[in-house]
């Protein structure tokens, strides 16, 4: 069965780019505009991989990532962060939330900083799904 990859980004151009790469590599992309929509699709479609942006309106990638990794049902789904935010700032905000009384969360399976080459993105997707 073709593996499903959920792309969560508020920027339609980024979604278009990612879905094109996913399709080209023989996987099945699904899209969400923000964290909230992303969580709904996650429950409905049970994707094999999530490619997640950080800065989004309504619900950010920081929160959605925590929701995935703290829920036993989804914690095993690999997450690739694809963002303009540096890995350092992302981890720092996760750490702050943990210290604020949240649960401990692991690091994402992969972290890509925009801009990425399509080959780089394809390699990350393949490696996460293998």
């Amino acid at each position: 069965m073709t593996k499903k990859v959920l792309v969560v980004d508020d920027d339609p151009d980024v979604r278009l780019f990612s879905t094109a790469v996913i399709e080209e590599n023989g996987f099945n992309p699904i899209e969400a505009e923000n964290g909230e929509e992303g969580m709904q699709l996650l429950k409905l479609e049970k994707p094999d991989l999530v490619i997640l942006d950080v800065l989004m309106p309504r619900e950010s990638g920081v929160r959605m990532f925590r929701q995935i990794k703290t829920n036993p049902k989804f914690a095993k789904i690999p997450v690739i962060i694809l963002s303009g935010i540096t890995k350092k700032s992302f981890l720092r905000s996760q750490k702050a939330l943990t210290e604020f009384g949240g649960a401990e969360v692991p690091e994402p399976e992969n972290y890509l900083e925009k801009p990425v080459e399509p080959e780089e993105l394809a390699a990350a997707i393949k490696s996460a799904l293998s």
């Binding site: 508020d10 920027d11 151009d13 980024v14 278009l16 780019f17 094109a20 309106p57 900083e113 801009p115």
Partner: protein, 520 residues
Amino acid sequence: MLPNGKMSKILVVDDEEANVRLLAMSLRSDGHEVLTALSGEQGLETFKKDNPDLVITDIKMPGMDGIEVLKQIKQLDSNTEVIIITGHGDIDNAIEALKFGASDFINKPIRDEVLTVSIKRAEEKIYIKRQLQEHTDNLERRVQQATREITRQSNFLSKLIRSSHEGIIATGQDLKIVIYNPGAQRIFGYLHDEVLNQRKITELLEPELLSFLEQKKPSSGNEQNRKEACVYDKNRELIPVRFYGTPLFEKKEKIGTVCFFQDLREIKRLESELVQNERLAAIGQTVAGVAHGVKNILHGFKGGSYLLNLGLEKNEKGKLRQGWDMIQRNIQRTSELVLDLLSFSKERDPQKQSCQPNTIVVDVCEVMKDLAAKNRIELTTDLDPAIGFTIVDPHSLHQCLANLISNAIDACLFDENVSKKWCVHVKTERVDEQIIRFSVSDTGMGMSPEVKKKLFSSFFSTKGHRGTGLGLLVTRKLIKEHDGSITVDSEQKKGTTFTIELPFCEQVQSADSQSESEDL
């Protein structure tokens, strides 16, 4: 009786013992304490030992006579009263005795009434002398006290002047320096001895500051006598100071001048350091923010060219179109970012001119109308006709209002509560003679306190890919250039109101146009 209420102590000196006894008896019966001596020498001894108030001595005695006794007693204590007893008709000796300071003379044989009067007179003299003495002592004490107090105060003042961190220089009427404290030394570099009574204040200060010392009236520390200025030190280096100088007057007559100097070197250094730090921090923030924006745009370009490539390889027109559109959108984003950056970083004076703020509001709303309508957002205005014309940069005002209104529309667009009726309301108001107010309210998503806190910081955007993060920053900069203020009031899920207040300055009207408007 003496002024202290005691009977006086009297020494009687006479070589004839019978006379002495008789006189002593008479005096004792009047209540006096009486000492006796039978010769001048013995009299002096007793005088030194017992210090009587009054001496009565016979003038003619073998050995030391009465005149000699008188002289010596007067030398020992000029306050002692001496009454001389003379033989009958011995006027010459009596006059001699008076010359040497006897208080009185009595002829022999001594009559009690005469003696009583004479003693009374002597006692009065003693009384007056003691009063005088007391008064003089008192005066001396007071002078001493006053001198001590003055010395203390003058020490206090000179310590005060010495320990003042401010430089203090004072001159006499001839402008020669008479006070030059260590604070002044720190500023001017001259040593105390190089300056004091050597130089005139005119050698230290430029004419601009000297003019403060030439005023005709005393000043009472008012602001006009203060000035931030520079003085030259010994090495002709410019030292920034806050200067206060004034002539000194006493009863309307000029008695000198005084100048105070606050050394501003450290403050200026800290100020420039602070400005430098802020500038560096701003540059850092700007670079980080720009980098973030550019990263996203670059990502878009990469995506675009990837799709174009795919389209070319597979000869798929759809992919070509998608790729090309993506590249165009990112060209647009690039130019938006660059324009925002430019207007944020440009140091430019606003091009102020007379214009009608209400018309600008109408113009902006006209542009925003379609976007609002498409998203079921009601855009309304309430314009105060009392505003009329004011002096602003119309372009700046246009940009600020466009920014706030587009933010307000976004706040509705981003609102999760789809059942809400969304409105954006723009209001203008002439608050008073000096202020006009613009407010842009929306019924959108509102802001959390955290978002509100970061509102005016660079590159903070909640709009994801839609914002450059510079809009409010630019708005605030433009408002600042107009000496205005921008404030925000927001409640999460309820909505937000931004308020701009600008100084109202009416068109400078010529006489003609004024009469015209009156005719109307």
